[in-house]
């Protein structure tokens, strides 16, 4: 397998970017009227992209060292290098899985809700993949922009007042964040004179003391852009309304967009500050931890407060962002490993949840005409519980018969899927959410390893994170149980919604993936641990990038003026 992959290898690294771009161009050229053809191209491209991502993951895990691709054949650091390491490969696979699931789902009905859904979808995938692959800071900005530009279109897909309102907020904030990103990148370029992240990490030590302040300010400003993308409190208020307003497949794909912010923080922060022992070592880690904890707490509040499933899912993304940021900031390799497993689990879970929400609401909308409770109004969900029941024998006020009701098959599927998503989001057994939480908590409580017998003290922030992690799980349990009861148990005698196989299949597949993550927890966690170790030893990445050499002139074309390696 590895050998076979090695054949196409250097070029395969660029495939996750080029495949969606080319597919998008093809679909744009096909025109609006060939909708079926476009859908087919989109599905095929997404599946192929997933296959490529998996191949890259297998390859990089087998090789153990990052693969480097020099676009344009220019030597590092002058050209743009694409790098696939374990972290990138993991993110690519996650994006691929979500993308394939969402696009399959969209073919049922959503792709007809507006124009250009399919090309924008592939462009979004291209932006995501590019951001995960590039080793160049400005190129990262470019791919952020590709991703965002496409996401603007996808968020507004389907139109409607709520979407346009939330979408325009989203666009305004992201444009500001992009400007901030640009300021940060240009300052870093000014101080270090390079854009390649590996090269930059190497040159940080050589930055003179007089420029240190500027360097730190540049990193700080850059981090604001990343953290706004990762929805850190107080920069992430846009997330819940925007994602709740998005159409189901778009929202499912967006589940990985905040993770791009997390990815960028992980990548840049560990590259710059994890390895060295210079003056800027562990710069800003306190900020990350405090911010992450605040985000986690805010997200948990939001989960508790939310009554509409879309907002609930949005806040659960905020919770996962906070968790990941705090875990990153604490800087323990074992914790980072657990956090990466959590990242995979939570991304798939929330993706599935967004797809599911639409079906559940559809099931509900069949005959329930009560207005949706708006979260702005102070609507008490279970105020009825305060009404004293007669302490009499028949506990049910309406004396309903003691005979169970048959659930239609569609509702059974939705119910089981809902339970699965709820368990994953709340971190309850038996799905991967529990393993993920256990992995992080165990690493947090045993910073020196399990057999250490508590010789290494747990930092205060670690205790707070433990408490918040468990507390957020509780809050999610309460809130999701409330929602589940309201959506599945309370309505009476409604006709079953019509579901299509292409809508159910992606949800089932995502949940199945989470179940597989649980059963095969060991190899996945091992992979996550290797990833975390490599992140905390950035020299692996830096050496791989810096030692990459351009292809030298092939002997059979003497007149070609290809570039020589090095300078």
């Amino acid at each position: 397998m590895i050998g076979w992959l090695g054949q196409g290898m250097p070029h395969l690294i660029a495939a996750p970017i080029l495949l969606p771009l080319f597919a998008a161009a093809l679909m744009v050229a096909m025109g609006e009227r060939r909708r079926a053809g476009r859908a087919l191209v989109n599905v095929l491209a997404s599946l192929l992209g997933l296959a490529v991502a998996v191949a890259l993951l297998v390859w990089v895990d087998g090789e153990g060292v990052p693969g480097v691709y020099l676009a344009g054949n220019w030597p590092v650091p002058f050209g743009i290098a694409l790098v696939v390491d374990r972290l990138s490969a993991l993110m690519l696979v996650l994006a691929g899985v979500l993308g394939a699931a969402a696009v399959l789902y969209s073919t049922a009905r959503w792709d007809r809700a507006g124009v250009h859904f399919h090309p924008l979808f592939q462009l979004q995938l291209m932006g995501l993949n590019g951001a995960f692959l590039t080793a160049d800071l400005f190129n990262l900005f470019v791919f952020f922009e590709v991703m965002l530009a496409a996401s603007y279109g996808l968020l507004l897909h389907g139109s409607g007042t709520a979407r346009v309102r939330a979408g325009l907020h989203y666009i305004a904030i992201n444009l500001l964040a992009s400007s901030v990103f640009l300021i940060g990148v240009s300052m870093l370029y000014g101080v270090t004179g390079t854009l390649n992240m590996a090269d930059m990490a190497q040159k940080l030590a050589a930055v003179p003391a007089s420029d240190r302040g500027l360097l730190n300010a540049a990193v700080a400003i850059l981090s604001v852009a990343f953290l706004a993308k990762a929805a850190m409190w107080p920069l992430g208020f846009w997330l819940a309304p925007a994602y709740a307003a998005a159409s189901a497949p778009a929202a499912a794909l967006f589940a990985i967009m905040t993770k791009v912010g997390i990815y960028a923080v992980l990548r840049v922060w560990t590259l710059f500050f994890a390895g060295g022992d210079d003056a800027s070592a562990a710069f800003g880690s306190g900020m990350l931890v405090v911010g992450g904890l605040a985000t986690l707490a805010f997200g948990a509040l939001g989960v508790m407060a939310s009554q509409r499933l879309g907002r609930l899912a949005g806040f659960s993304i905020v919770v996962s962002s906070g968790t990941l940021l705090a875990a990153t900031g604490l800087g323990l390799p074992a914790l980072t490993g657990g956090a990466l497993y959590y990242l995979a689990s939570t991304t798939l879970a929330v993706g599935a949840f967004y797809l599911l929400i639409e079906l559940v609401e559809r099931a509900r909308a069949v005959n329930v005409d009560a207005p949706e409770p708006d979260d702005d109004t102070d609507h008490l969900p279970f105020a009825l519980e305060l009404v004293e029941l007669p302490q009499d024998v028949n506990l049910d006020d309406d004396e309903h018969a003691l005979v169970g009701k048959v659930f239609p098959a569609a509702i059974v599927f939705l119910g089981i899927a809902f339970i699965g998503c709820a368990l994953l989001i709340a971190g309850l057994p038996p799905l991967s959410g529990f393993v993920a939480k256990f992995g992080m908590l165990s690493a947090l409580l045993n910073p020196g390893g399990l057999g250490d017998l508590g010789a290494t003290p747990v930092p205060v922030a670690g205790w707070v994170l433990v408490a918040l992690l468990i507390g957020s799980g509780l809050v999610a349990t309460i809130s999701l149980a409330r929602a589940g009861i309201r959506y599945f148990w309370a309505p009476q005698d409604r006709p079953a919604p019509r579901l299509r196989v292409v809508e159910c299949l992606p949800i089932a597949a995502l949940l199945f993936a989470c179940a597989a993550l649980t059963v095969r927890a060991e190899p996945v966690l091992r992979y996550a641990q290797d990833t975390a170790l490599a992140l905390h030893r950035p020299s692996v990445y830096i050496d791989a990038v810096m030692s990459a050499r351009p292809v030298t002139q092939p002997s059979w074309r003497p007149e070609a003026s290809a570039k020589e390696g090095g300078t």
């Binding site: 590709v146 508790m304 003691l402």
Partner: protein, 966 residues
Amino acid sequence: MSLALLLALPFVGSVAAALLPTNARNTAATWTTAVALACVVQFGLMFPEVRDGGVLRQSFHWVPDMGLEFSIRMDGFAWMFAMLISGIGTLVAVYARYYMSPADPVPRFFSLFLAFMGAMQGIVLSGNLIQLVFFWELTSLFSFLLIGYWHHRSDARRGARMALVVTGTGGLCLFAGVLLLGRIVGSYDLDAVLGAREVIHSHPLYPPMLVLVLLGALTKSAQFPFQFWLPRAMAAPTPVSAYLHSATMVKAGVFLLARLWPVLAQSELWFWVVTGAGALSLLLAAYAAMFQNDLKRLLAYSTISHLGLITLLLGLNSELAAVAAVFHIMNHATFKASLFMAAGVIDHETGTRDIRRLDGLYKVMPITGTLALVASAAMAGVPLLNGFLSKEMFFSETVYLSSYPWVELALPLIATLAGIFAVVYALRFSFDIFFGPLSTDLPREPHEPARWMRVPIELLVLACLVVGVAPAWSVGAFLDAAALPVVGGTLPEFSLAVWHGFNAPFAMSLVAMAGGIAGYLLLAPLLESGRLRRVPIMDRFDGRRLFDRSLVALGALSRGGVRVAGTRRLQMQLLWVVVACLVAAFAALQGHGVGWGDRPRVPASLEFVLLWSIGIACAIGAAVQAKFHRLAALMMMAVAGLVVCLTFAWFSAPDLALTQLAVEVVTTVLFLLGLRWLPKRIPEAVRHPTLRDRARRGRDLAIALAAGGGLAALSYAMLTRLAPQSISPFFLSHALPEGGGTNVVNVMLVDFRSLDTLGEITVLGAVALAVYALLRRFRPPRESVEAPRQQRVLPADLKTDLVNPRTAPDTALGYLVVPAVLSRLILPIAGLVAVHLFMRGHNQPGGGFVAGLVVAIALIAQYMVAGTLWVEQRMNPHPVRWIAAGLALAVLTGLGALAWGYPFLTTHTAHVALPLVGEVHVPSAILFDIGVFAAVIGATLLILIALAHQSIRATRKPATAEAGGG
């Protein structure tokens, strides 16, 4: 059968049951009984291996790195629980077949039932504490689904939710406690934990760990103060209650207490918390049980009370008490399961569970009556029944305890009092409903139930009797095997005889009997007549109400929290981003400061200062006017943009200046077109600014000044430095020899960093597609569709050369003739300029980007002057195809390099010698640049068309507005 298969069997059975058709009542029940019976038989056969302290183990790798093995471990105690779970499970399954209505879709019920059974067995067979938590939470989940089985009833929904929240919370506490235990011991393995008693007790984390573990156990076992969920859970079908609240769910809590008893007990904290919770539950629940009128609720309170008894025994830190606890676990399971089933039979056959309405049933259902009488006698602790034996052991433990004097006094008192209450409620359950005149107003005609519905009760009651009469013979061996692992090490001396002589415990039993009968005679008339409807005194301290209130309060609190800590307003969100930047940058500069560099400064000239003064003034003006005078703001922004262009040119960056100029033109024009559709100012909405408004504006101004000033300072600091390690010299020196062009900027765009360019044209394309998709659905508001105010003031009869562009076939008439002619003339010239800019791009300022913009500007001019209809009658620009072609060309050019064995986007310069012209460099990047050119034209035009079609669509039917999209 191996333990693992045995553990998996109920889950497999559950899936199989779920797949049965909804009316497969007999199949589902038979299947469930068979699965449970198979478990009983298999476990039963394993007894010889665990009887003398033997332990069966089986483990699988799960996540060994984190101390998480999937390990199955069965010792005598676990064996006893496994037998209870599967044995009573078998009986309840048979019972449920007859209890559930034929119309009920029971396969779902049996599926959940089996899954719950599997989860419960998972708890007792766990050899790893994390795995125990895993199954623990599963029991919470499945019990939630079982309690809410009749989900169309509101009491079922509420009861299920409450059970889930309480036990789920407890489960999370237990999870935290186990994690702490893992930190203390260094392992989650049960054997390792059981062997680390000293380490655990001496560890500073022992108290918090213990409290967390106990929270888990006490919530699950419905112990004070968490007892309130159990009576509400009675909304479940009776077989569920019989199973969950006799042998399984609630027993999980005491199972955990007993499981960890060897390592956690024997401390003050344990004594106070466990004994305290147990004693309060024992007494208060027994008290409350006396006043219940519902058979099942009575049993629920009695269950809390009996579990309190077990908890109390475990809390006493005495080995003998622990043995008594294990014994009572077994006894309680047998009589309580049979009582629940009897209650179900009565409910099923009479149609009510109200003790006040039920009377004299013995006449019509003598067999059930006898069974219920015997079982409630066991519950009350009547001699020759199993309940008596363990209760005697309990009484003697309370009497012979050595502790604080007041505890030594209080405990026997509590025990006797609870004994009295127990007799009262047992009499209410049995005597009250079976004797006296037969009730006449029952919903159904009462009669004996189906034969097989009674068999499970008969078997259980038989067990009560046998154990009560010949304890040592019947359960002695099992009790030894089960109690040995609980006390750890050696069993204390105890005797299972029925008669111990006339001693203090027996005296207490007698007092309880007598007091109970007296109490019943006193209480029964009050309750029967309905004068006493609520539980006296205790009714005021209702945990359930507290729970409901706190949930509602939690909801309100969180909503308030989100409102305070979050915002939905865009302005605030943008403010936060800016403030975050400011704070982050200032914090990062702490200790370093920002100093100016020593790069030689260019002296200022008067012209430049003047130019910038204009630019600055315009920028400020644009900000000031942006809110209410958009057109003016836009114009000033354009001027500021032009000043930037001039600055670029001034500092020898002609490429930038050229590009900036074209971009300024295009964006300003598109902005102007969009301005038409923005909402109007509502003069009435403008109010006089209050003090608060002024303060807010002052704050915003301060932040703006700080952010702007900070950015200016940072820029100045950057610009005054020489970048010492810069990579830019490489580009200067390699652009011509290897990039094949003298214009370094262009070589950078199409060669060095062509991947960036590819990304940027993709962004352009994506934005254009998004704008088009959005605007296609956009319906302008009515006030924007009407003719502008300036046009409306014209009198109708006025002769004018103004043409209405929406109706006129050609707008290039009248006053527009001159610009129309000019703009049409410009089109070919613009094309020529574009070609020129494109061709020289690689060596001189220019390139595909600028060339594309120039063409786009020329086309925009046509649209502006001649009108959309006129232009589109004469040509279809197909902007979408331009985008597709541009992107595809750029990608394919880049991919071409692969054919020659080079990476994507590697360029190649062909040196061609043409006749007359001489040698020409033709870099492959030129193809890439054509792609850029096409994509820019397409994107710009698509946005233009999306805007232009608004004005056409506003007067037409929306459906016909499809044209021009491509």
